[in-house]
């Protein structure tokens, strides 16, 4: 059950990232670039969650997971605060 959730989340994240990348190439708005990076990172985070669950729970992976999430969100915040538009 949880595995399906994480895969779905990873997939959704990836879809958002692709849409934002497409949007960025069309409009060149910096916000879209940083949002795209964020969603890529969130996808990675969810894949790590899946790996962590399917393989044996590994403590080290836990910190890596959280770190990817925090980094992705930080990138989005950067885009929202600093790099909003052209």
């Amino acid at each position: 059950m949880a595995e399906a959730v994480y895969l779905l989340c990873a997939l959704t994240s990836l879809v958002c990232a692709v849409l934002l990348l497409r949007g960025y190439r069309a409009s060149r708005t910096p916000l879209l670039f940083w949002s795209c990076l964020c969603f890529v990172g969130l996808a990675v985070n969810n894949v790590l969650l899946f790996v962590d669950l399917v393989i044996v729970p590994d403590y080290n992976l836990r910190v890596l997971r959280a770190a990817t999430a925090l980094t992705s969100l930080a990138l989005l915040i950067y885009g929202l605060v600093v790099a909003e538009a052209k």
Partner: protein, 136 residues
């Protein structure tokens, strides 16, 4: 104590003027309202490059403050408010600008920031439309 800039002036600045260059051009054309202005003349009088003036003229023309004519002699612009109410509004704007220049400039840059934020938001939301859609 002066109160804040009245709302109708604020709206005029946001929709009809849109930029500091627009304001300068509008007031210049208004000062000698009978004559027709070619672009290079405006640029020379204001010491602003021509490339900055053309986009600044779009909003005032669209709003009905400035007339744009294309003749065999070239393109000219003239101060020609569409209604007497607009004329009176620009008069008030001119006097406010003389007294409270800094406030007006601050208001204009606040509008500019809002417009940027709006365009970023729209670009973000439009990115999530799957498949090409024509712009509404």
């Amino acid at each position: 104590m002066s109160d804040s800039i009245p709302e109708d002036i604020g709206r005029l600045l946001a929709d009809g003027v849109a930029s500091l260059e627009g304001l300068e051009v509008l007031l210049l054309l208004r000062k000698e309202r009978v004559r027709a202005w070619p672009l290079d003349e405006i640029a020379r009088r204001l010491s602003i490059p021509q490339s900055s003036i053309e986009p600044a003229l779009e909003e005032p023309v669209r709003y009905g403050l400035i007339e744009h004519e294309r003749s065999s002699a070239g393109e000219i612009w003239r101060f020609a408010p569409r209604t007497p109410e607009l004329d009176a509004l620009v008069d008030r704007l001119a006097s406010i600008y003389e007294d409270r220049r800094l406030e007006v400039m601050r208001l204009l840059s606040a509008h500019a920031m809002e417009r940027i934020r709006n365009s970023a938001a729209r670009a973000f939301a439009d990115a999530f439309v799957i498949g090409r859609k024509k712009d509404g």
